[in-house]
């Protein structure tokens, strides 16, 4: 049957809707190969239609399959792109190595460009009113207090605060820190806010 491999690919990605999977190089290569074969068969049969009119129908079926495969592959890439966009907002501009290796080279290029674009845009914000840029990834929820209490979930190491103080973030230590300093770390799952 046509287009079965590509469906496997999509089902895999649909199963893990909340996470990004490894870019499936091997399967995509196979699918493209399948498309090449279909295309070649169609070329031959299309040339032969002058003798055998009924071959037209076959050509049409194959052509539908080709279009179907194309659509599925595009959808696969498009969905990954959306997830990669989220990665930039949630993990920040530097991806942890285990996430980085899930992306193909082209995807990583795209990520870098998107990241640069976003950074340029954020820098340009508010210049007319005297700010040099606004970090849009901060304060996704309105901050309610200047400082918050956070629990450290992993051995992170040293964190330098804006005022130059250095704080050692060790697992299970509690800190009372300025909200602005912790937000990114909370979103990255290194700190956890406690009441």
């Amino acid at each position: 049957m046509f287009g079965e491999k590509v469906i496997e690919l999509l089902k895999e990605s649909e199963r893990n809707r909340e996470t990004l999977d490894q870019y499936n190089d091997e399967k995509i290569r196979q699918i493209i190969e399948e498309m090449h074969v279909l295309f070649k068969l169609n070329m031959n049969d299309a040339n032969a239609t002058t003798e055998n009119k009924s071959l037209w129908t076959t050509v049409q079926v194959r052509h539908s399959a080709l279009e179907r495969n194309k659509r599925c592959l595009l959808a696969y890439l498009y969905n990954r792109m959306n997830k990669i966009k989220i990665l930039r907002w949630e993990f920040g501009s530097v991806l942890p190595p285990d996430i980085r290796e899930l992306l193909s080279d082209a995807e990583y290029d795209w990520f870098s460009k998107y990241s640069t674009n976003l950074a340029t845009y954020m820098r340009s914000l508010g210049q007319d009113i005297g700010y040099n840029g606004i970090d849009l990834t901060e304060n996704l929820r309105p901050p309610k207090s200047l400082n918050i209490e956070v629990l450290c979930l992993v051995d992170y190491g040293k964190l330098e605060l804006e005022d130059g103080d250095v704080i050692m973030l060790k697992k299970n230590s509690t800190h009372f820190l300025p909200t602005s300093e912790c937000q990114t770390l909370i979103r990255q799952g290194i700190l956890k806010q406690i009441t």
Binding site: E149, M168, N172, S173, T174, F176, T195
Partner: protein, 532 residues
């Protein structure tokens, strides 16, 4: 050096600075920490909080976090050791010590400002400065201008003088350090600070009440002292406006652990100061308990079901029934004034229950200590749903049951062994109790239980297995319920020196030590020889 004014000299110094808060794993410390945290939050004092289990923990915690830190607050740890010597801090670092462990190390007392003790206990007989510190160099110089025989004489004179002084110093120091004991709960001191800062809200009062209850439930202080300690707390309670939100009150209540979350029978058979007198471990124990319930007028069916769903009439007369029935069986009266937290639309919560819940969270069977500590802190919150507290109460019930099982089996199978001047018992490795009764808090509870069951005239040692072939050894003084001064701290130290066994004296409470299980018998022998 002692802080004169707790607000100006302690709290106001911290304002605007980053503070390192090192807190010991015990109930009073958790309560203190809660009060301080709330204060710090109000004044935007940035802090880093690290719970510490012992002296080595304290050292690593300080070394890891001391960068850019100029102020360190120690809660229930560090007072009994020479901080400057052990932590080797930079000169401009200041330590504030709020420690209810006593006696306070003499170097901390006479530190010239680097170590500041937040609270001065009048009960402590701290030796005078001149009696323990002496500057010899000045005297040498003063003698230079003397000649010949005069000089010789002066030297002999001085030596004799010095020897006498040294002997005197030794006696003084010996008297000062021979007993380890507890002072006023740190949470009461912290509460006073909150009052001075006009922030004595319900949360602070509740934390203070739980801290107070901890000292009396764990018999860390003589009963009379406990009452005196709670005096400032009572004053605050009176001043408290009777609001419709959460508030703390003093009421007469049954001094039975967790009975609101248990059944009456369950609570009666798991109270360490009360149940041992029923001798439940003996074959006649069960019938004695039934007799008591009958005298109270409680049908067994009612006494066995959850207190929450018990007959309302019975719930109402529980206190009076206990008071009339207990003396008939020559039992202590299990009611006394206690702190209760009243919350709208929920049953009252006794400070005693919170004490046990926090204990169970800190020394939880499965939770790592540091996680338990965080949960214990949030169990103290007074508003809203309190999930950690429920976890703690469930765990406390399990631990209390384990303590009771352990005590019963020890008593009925002659597990309590005699060794010269003291009795001792050992929690066997691999038993179901060993998992729950493994920290000093619950082991202490078991030791008190057994001491009460055996009239408590003799000191008791308790030992529980730890991983890696180590074991915990804990000493309970005789008549612990009246005079909780503990001589085992000094005794352990000496016995360790004499026997040459590698004992780990890491706990802040010196009457708790860790040693290799294989050398336990040897150590106990050395201790017997020492105390005999």
């Amino acid at each position: 050096m002692f802080v004169e004014d707790i607000k100006n000299d302690f709290y106001n110094t911290l304002l605007g600075n980053r503070v390192l808060l090192l807190v010991h794993y015990d109930v009073d410390a958790v309560c203190t920490c809660k009060i301080l945290q709330d204060l710090f939050k109000c004044d935007n004092i940035l802090y880093t909080l690290v719970p510490v289990g012992g002296i080595s923990d304290l050292k690593t915690a300080y070394e890891e976090n001391n960068e850019e830190i100029k102020f360190v607050v120690l809660v229930n740890c560090g007072g009994t050791i020479d901080l400057v010597d052990i932590l080797q801090p930079d000169e401009d670092v200041i330590f504030f010590v709020l420690d209810s462990h006593k006696p306070t190390d003499i170097c901390n007392v006479y530190s010239d400002g680097q170590v500041r003790l937040v609270y001065k206990d009048d009960e402590e007989n701290i030796p005078n400065f001149d009696d323990i510190f002496r500057d010899d160099e000045d005297e040498e110089e003063a003698d230079e201008n003397l000649q010949g025989a005069d000089r010789l004489e002066a030297m002999v004179e001085r030596r004799r003088d010095r020897k006498a002084w040294e002997e005197r110093r030794h006696t003084l120091m010996f008297n000062y350090t021979q007993f380890s004991y507890y002072g006023k709960p740190s949470s009461c001191v912290a509460l006073e600070l909150a009052v001075r800062a006009s922030r004595n809200n319900a949360a602070a009062l509740w934390a203070g009440a739980v801290g107070c209850a901890a000292h009396s439930a764990l018999y860390l202080r003589p009963p009379a002292q406990c009452l005196l300690d709670a005096e400032p707390l009572n004053r605050c309670l009176n001043a408290q406006s009777h609001s419709t939100t959460a508030h703390v009150v003093v009421e007469k209540d049954a001094w039975l652990p967790l009975y609101r979350w248990w059944s009456v029978e369950g609570a009666l058979s798991h109270a360490s100061f009360f149940t041992p007198k029923l001798k439940l471990h003996a074959s006649s124990g069960a019938s004695r308990l039934r007799q008591l319930l009958a005298d109270m007028g409680f049908p067994l069916q009612q006494a066995r079901q959850a207190y929450r769903s018990m007959d309302v009439e019975l719930r109402r007369c529980l206190l009076s029934a206990l008071e009339t029935a207990a003396p008939k069986h020559k039992l202590p009266i299990p009611t006394r004034p206690t702190f209760l937290l009243h919350k709208p639309h929920s049953p009252p919560m006794a400070a005693l229950d919170a004490v046990y819940a926090i204990m169970a969270l800190i020394e939880h069977e499965t939770l790592p200590k540091a996680v338990g500590f965080q949960k214990a802190l949030s169990a103290l919150q007074v508003n809203g749903e309190n999930e950690p507290l429920k976890v703690g109460i469930t765990a406390a019930r399990r631990s209390l049951e384990a303590v009771a099982r352990l005590a019963h089996s020890t008593l009925s199978s002659r597990g309590l062994l005699l060794a010269g001047p003291f009795n001792y018992f050992i929690v066997q490795e691999g038993t179901s109790e060993a998992g729950l009764v493994r920290g000093p808090l619950w082991l202490g509870e078991a030791a008190r239980w057994i001491a009460t069951a055996t009239s408590g005239a003799r000191p008791i040692l308790a030992s529980a297995p730890l991983p890696d072939g180590q074991c915990l050894l804990l000493g309970l003084p005789p008549r612990y319920d009246q005079e909780p001064r503990n001589l085992f701290g000094a005794a352990f130290e000496q016995a360790a020196q004499k026997s040459g066994i590698s004992v780990v004296l890491d706990y802040v409470d010196t009457s708790v030590i860790v040693l290799p299980t294989s050398q336990r018998t040897q150590f106990l022998d050395a201790l017997t020889a020492l105390l005999a």
